[in-house]
């Protein structure tokens, strides 16, 4: 009787079975290869799903998911389905970098999207550049991402801070006055936004009466507002975003400062307006995308699609950022029929978004020289109550093309170094 330690000799039946299995494998292998072809193409998305930017980040992810569903329903990318892997940067640079490495090294993503926070986006861009992964910054605005720190593999969907300032400055100057006082969030985004607006103001012949730097997450703005009021400006410009902006505007209105000076800002978002009481929804601002665009192709469908997955609520600019980022990656990959990062990054230069993706009246394309999307600015005034819809809280007066608000390519400081 054979013990477990004794080696067994192959008998004839075993050899026959082995030969049959080997033959079967060679017949079956095309199916194995076919199954491999169906392996999803992975897109990594990093956004601050927790923290002060959680609301806008979650909307970016929702927009991206909608795009993934649409693309998969239409046949995917290069015949393969796409899969979105979402990670939380928690508004922290270290966490963002760690998540980027995890997505690229462990999850083997082909593309990267993110982050809302400019500082995190810049840090992630370093990682994606090192790993040669095509990366779209969906919602981080600071100039340098497509300026002095631009990279061959990094494109951006949202506006730069300079584009935002350029779209509103002259209107604010002509309608509200020439002495401006800034309330500025004390990090990369705030600094570049304030600098851009102050530069515009100097060109127009106005003066800056002061610039209050407020830490991210400030809850009480009264000390800064006391200083702003003492400087007697024509306009108080509120630059913080998210809950900081909500706190600041609520307090301005409660103090009655909007009776003493005009209150306005540059970038405004639907998420923030909806979080404010009606009396705090005041001033001239710019939106980066707005949902109520009668007659513009594709907008109604996009609004209806988002309403279905968003509890009946309309899309915001953030939904559009996520949606556009995914469609850009899929569109260029299908056009070039490759996943090679360098080839795709080159093809994205001057890549124009089709009407059903751009969802705005003006031409919308990625500029080859700095990798910035030339997207429109929707300039107008906040409304205390919605006229046609409870969420119609902004009246769009002008839709200005990205080409008209963006500094010339030569002025951005971007010099793209392509890999050898």
């Amino acid at each position: 009787m054979a013990t477990p330690f004794q080696s067994r000799r192959f008998d004839r039946r075993s050899v026959l079975k082995g030969a049959a299995a080997l033959g079967g494998l060679s017949v079956a292998s095309p199916f194995v290869i076919a199954a491999r072809a169906e392996t999803p193409i992975r897109i990594g998305m990093i956004d601050p799903l927790t923290g002060v930017y959680a609301a806008v980040a979650q909307n970016e992810v929702m927009g991206a998911r909608l795009a993934v569903d649409q693309i998969n329903a239409a046949g995917g990318v290069l015949g393969r389905p796409i899969e979105l892997l979402v990670e939380d940067s928690a508004n922290d640079v270290g966490t963002g970098v760690q998540k980027a490495r995890k997505l690229i090294e462990r999850d083997q993503v082909s593309f990267l999207i993110g982050d809302v926070n400019s500082g995190v986006a810049q840090a992630i861009a370093q990682v994606s550049n090192e790993k040669r992964i095509l990366h779209i910054v969906s919602g981080g605005h600071t100039d340098s991402i497509t300026g002095a720190d631009c990279k061959w593999n990094v494109y951006r969907v949202c506006n730069t801070t300079s584009m935002e300032a350029n779209s509103v400055s002259s209107l604010l100057f002509s309608q509200y006055g020439k002495k401006w006082h800034f309330i500025t969030p004390d990090y990369a985004f705030g600094h570049t936004l304030q600098k851009a607006a102050a530069t515009d103001l100097a060109k127009l012949g106005g003066t800056v009466t002061g610039n209050e730097l407020t830490p991210l997450g400030t809850t009480d703005f009264s000390a800064y507002l006391i200083k702003a009021q003492a400087a007697s400006p024509d306009v108080i410009l509120v630059l913080p975003q998210g809950s900081d902006m909500v706190n600041c505007l609520k307090q301005i209105v409660q103090f009655g400062l909007n009776q003493q000076a005009h209150v306005a800002g540059l970038q405004q978002e639907l998420e923030a307006l909806e979080a404010m009481p009606p009396e705090a929804r005041i001033g001239i601002w710019m939106f980066e995308w707005y949902w109520n665009q009668p007659g513009v192709p594709g907008v109604d469908k996009f609004v209806a699609d988002i309403r279905k997955v968003n509890g009946g609520k309309v899309p915001t600019a953030r939904h559009w950022f996520g949606y556009t980022s995914v469609h850009t990656l899929a569109g260029v990959a299908n056009q070039q029929k490759t996943l090679d990062s360098v080839a795709l990054a080159k093809a994205l230069g001057n890549f124009e978004l089709p009407p059903e993706i751009k969802l705005q009246p003006n031409k919308c394309y990625y500029r080859a020289g700095d990798h910035q999307l030339m997207t429109s600015a929707f300039v107008g005034e906040a409304q205390s109550h919605g006229a046609s819809d409870p969420e119609d809280l902004f009246r769009v007066d002008h839709v200005i093309a990205g080409d008209a608000t963006a500094p010339a390519e030569g002025e951005t400081g971007c010099k793209i170094q392509w890999p050898a």
Partner: protein, 289 residues
């Protein structure tokens, strides 16, 4: 400049009163139960969201009365289920528990009410400044200070003159002896914890009218409250009150000269006081008032 300074000192006192309300709740729990409640900011958020949810049914004033009580009930349950089993262990356990609880509460509120902030409207007569010159003294801020004053007065009266208060103070000094005298220490701790959470709930219901109501609202308010306790001296409620007012004024005055340092100044003040007087201003181990 003098006027600006005066403005900011007054403004700092108003903000400080709010910090003091938060810090008193923290201090109550820390003194008796030896629990560093990192979830205190979370309970503040719960208070704010409950007030927001019930306002359509009971109005602003009804919500202000009911929301802190409901928050305290939640606090009572949390103490009984999660905190109580950890009393016999190293205080690090309860610290880690409340640290985790803070994240659970933040994500829980985000799950229930959504990540997007909620608009909270206060009665119009409170939402305007009392004078053109002192524009930062609005009806609502004055009302907040009045509410904080009343709440603090009630807490001090309760601790000094009622049987429950005397037992809490005694137990803070010597828990074993109080237990040996037949006092139900378990219930005493639960009620004390709920009392501290009541103050957090009240702070949340008040803050919702002043700040944007969103799941991370408590995060920025928690650290100043801890600093207020440390400056005032652990174990002293009066010290906590003074600590809250002091950091409010220091922050306001710094904003005149160096706005960017207005938050950092709290930490500098804490470091200076700890160097000069390591127990804090009025701190003495086991002292209540």
């Amino acid at each position: 400049m003098t006027q600006l300074l005066l403005f900011n000192v007054t403004n700092g006192l108003i903000i400080g009163a709010f910090y003091a309300l938060m810090a008193l709740g923290l201090s109550l729990i820390l003194n008796l139960s030896n629990v560093i409640n990192f979830a205190h900011g979370g309970f503040l958020v719960i208070g704010g969201y409950i007030a927001y949810t019930i306002t359509p049914y009971v109005g602003f004033w009804g919500a202000l009365l009911i929301a802190p009580v409901l928050t305290a009930v939640i606090g009572f349950a949390v103490e009984a289920v999660l905190i109580r089993p950890l009393y016999g262990r190293d205080p690090l356990y309860s610290l880690l528990m409340t640290f985790g609880l803070a994240f659970i509460i933040e994500d829980g509120t985000r799950f229930i009410w959504g990540a997007q902030g909620k608009p909270v409207t206060i009665p119009p007569f409170l939402a305007r400044p009392l004078s053109h010159e002192f524009f930062f003294i609005t009806g609502y801020r004055l009302f907040m200070v009045a509410t904080v004053t009343i709440a603090v007065g009630l807490i001090f009266t309760l601790l000094r003159y009622t049987r429950l208060g005397i037992r809490i103070r005694a137990a803070t000094l010597d828990l074993e002896t109080v237990a040996a005298m037949g006092v139900n220490v378990r219930m005493l701790r639960s009620l004390n914890f709920a009392g501290g959470i009541y103050l957090a709930g009240l702070a949340g219901a008040l803050a919702a009218g002043q700040l944007g109501l969103e799941p991370t609202m408590g995060t920025g308010l928690l650290m100043p409250s801890f600093i207020a306790i440390i400056i005032g001296g652990v174990g002293s409620l009066t010290g906590t009150l003074i600590g809250g007012l002091l950091i409010g004024v220091a922050s306001g005055v710094t904003a005149v000269f160096a706005p960017a340092a207005s938050e950092a100044v709290m930490y500098v003040l804490m470091a200076v006081i700890l160097l000069a007087r390591p127990r804090g201003l009025l701190g003495e181990e086991g002292m209540m008032t």
